[in-house]
């Protein structure tokens, strides 16, 4: 029979786990936007130039948002960038008060988020300078291009909307 008594029970080595673990910022969540990093860099290039664009299929003429690499309608890959209107309408909206995803904690809640109808396409976007009670479905909104601060070695851009005055 083997001896199962704990030979060093008086002086066990202690190991520890930290109360909190700081994780490296592996992702900053926004797309990296240059030609080397994404096949839809043209969208971001255009955004930097002040134009909101997306892809249209040259075969079936379907317009998509976000920009596609292959057309999900006809499976063709002959796509070209076309300009989108910078003005649209609120298709539906809400005021977010909690439950923010990672990386969005810098946003001050509450904020308004909407599906914006630009005509050819709809997209999700934050509506700045607005509150839920002042808005109605169908209200006109216009594009606002923002620059993203963050750990990338190139300038990056994204879009928001504001109520049209």
């Amino acid at each position: 029979m083997t001896d199962t008594t704990d030979s060093n029970s008086g002086k066990r080595e202690r190991i520890s786990v930290p109360e909190e673990i700081e994780l490296p910022r592996l992702l900053d969540f926004y797309d990296l936007q240059t030609e080397d990093q994404t096949q839809i860099h043209e969208f971001y290039d255009n955004l930097q130039e002040g134009q909101l664009t997306t892809t249209q299929c040259c075969d079936c003429e379907e317009i998509h948002f976000p920009p596609r690499i292959v057309c999900p309608e006809c499976t063709g890959d002959n796509l070209e960038y076309v300009e989108l209107p910078h003005e649209g309408e609120l298709f539906a909206f809400s005021e977010v008060r909690g439950g923010l995803p990672l990386g969005l904690s810098e946003h001050d809640v509450p904020y308004v988020v909407a599906a914006v109808d630009l005509g050819p396409i709809k997209l999700s976007a934050r509506i700045d300078d607005a509150s839920y009670g002042d808005l109605e479905i169908g209200d006109p909104v216009e594009l606002k291009i923002v620059e993203i601060d963050g750990p990338a070695d190139h300038k990056r851009f994204f879009y928001r909307f504001v109520p049209q005055r």
């Binding site: 976000p66 298709f91 439950g99 990672l102 990386g103 969005l104 988020v113 599906a115 999700s124 879009y159």
Partner: protein, 388 residues
């Protein structure tokens, strides 16, 4: 093609158990399922297991073999992930494997550990079901997306928050006798209307809770059930799955769920039934508005009329077609990866007369389970029928 029978099912209590691992929860559910089924573990041909956020909440991937061990089965095991429809997709594949003769006995299940993340952490984890680049970065949250659906519904068809409050009240009422439910407590209309807003127009009581829990079911071929003299009166006679564009904004209508409609139509046709034959259903009410959209997608209510179904008593326990007699996700709880299989378990018990709410469906022959992922970019529907 062999008919698929539910030999047995088991659930943990749903609720708050942050200290328990998902493998511990799943082991408990499978012990109950094997006892209920009277099928030896050695006969299991495969484990299909649903889980959504294990990497985030437990730093654990590769759940298949891990959960086979927890369940005490030696069989090939695969994890299914389709957000909140994870174990619904597992059920569908289990049905197809048994039908095509590949397997005779499939253990299907799912589990989720969520509350250890805290409310903010779990809500954050749920957000990964949306398109991170084009929805989440644009400020969209999970409650936010359902809020848009509710607003779009009110705008298109009418209705008001009070109609949705009746959905919440009904599902809490149904859960009163369900000992597995997270909330076995009644709520009033005012509780819903006066609750803090989460994402306008939806408030705290429009939302299902964050839950821990596990579910398991032993599915067998009809031949196996006969050979072994199993008491398995409930069959899964129809299965369907639908898909949609990932982002909510990319849909023509926000207040309709084509993926659920597609899944429902396929499941009805597969079972040879239509919506009028459905006596009872468990639908995916992650938010109150989601139950309304599900009823319409499944043709249990005409489009634009589902909003009044709970308020007018058509879907209450004593109504024409009781919906979510288990309490639904709203009151029973929503441990994401377990939900699809738990709906099958509840429905099988309801139809077999083994559920505390079976008295409300004593003549029912046909039930439907509807499980949806994200903003219903994925959905599964199953038809269950009982021998009477």
């Amino acid at each position: 093609m062999s008919d698929v029978r539910v030999a047995g099912a088991g659930l943990t209590a749903f609720g708050h158990s942050p200290e328990r691992t998902s493998r511990d929860l799943f082991a408990e559910a499978t012990i109950a399922a094997f006892e209920d089924a009277d099928v030896p573990r050695a006969d299991v041909d495969a484990l299909l297991y649903g889980n959504f956020m294990g990497e985030l909440s437990e730093h654990q991937g590769h759940h298949g073999p891990l959960m086979a061990e927890a369940a005490g089965v030696q069989a090939p095991a695969t994890r299914y992930e389709s957000a909140c429809a994870s174990s619904g997709t597992a059920v569908r594949d289990a049905v197809m494997r048994i039908r095509n003769g590949e397997d005779d006995v499939v253990l299907v299940g799912g589990a989720e550990r969520m509350t250890n993340l805290g409310t903010a952490g779990a809500t954050e984890a749920l957000a990964i079901a949306a398109d991170d680049l084009w929805e989440v970065r644009a400020g969209m949250t999970f409650p936010g997306a359902y809020a848009l659906m509710a607003q779009a519904y009110f705008d298109e068809y009418g209705g008001e928050h009070e109609d949705l409050a009746h959905v919440a009240m009904k599902n809490h009422e149904n859960a009163l006798t369900n000992e597995k439910a997270q909330y076995q407590s009644a709520i009033e209309i005012e509780d819903v209307l006066e609750a803090p807003p989460v994402s306008e127009p939806l408030g705290l009581y429009d939302s299902c809770p964050i839950s821990d829990g596990a579910a398991a079911a032993v599915l067998v071929s009809e031949d196996y059930a006969e050979e072994h003299g199993l008491d398995a009166p409930v069959s899964i006679s129809g299965t369907g799955q639908g898909g949609d564009r990932m982002a909510l904004h990319d849909r023509e209508y926000l207040a309709r769920s084509p993926a659920a409609r597609e899944a429902g139509a396929e499941a009805y046709a597969d079972a040879g039934v239509d919506a009028a034959d459905v006596d009872v259903a468990e639908v995916h009410d992650c938010f109150t508005i989601a139950e309304v959209l599900a009823l319409e997608a499944l043709d249990l209510e005409p489009v634009g009329e589902g909003i009044s179904a709970a308020r007018d008593g058509r879907t209450t326990a004593d109504g024409e077609t009781p919906i979510n007699l288990s309490g639904g996700l709203k009151a029973k709880g929503h441990p994401v990866g377990a939900t699809g299989v738990s709906q099958i378990a509840e429905l099988a018990d309801l139809l077999a007369g083994d559920h505390p709410n079976s008295e409300f469906v004593s003549d029912a022959t046909t039930g439907v389970a509807h499980n949806a992922g994200g903003t219903v970019a994925s959905a599964t529907v199953h038809v269950l029928e009982v021998d009477r």
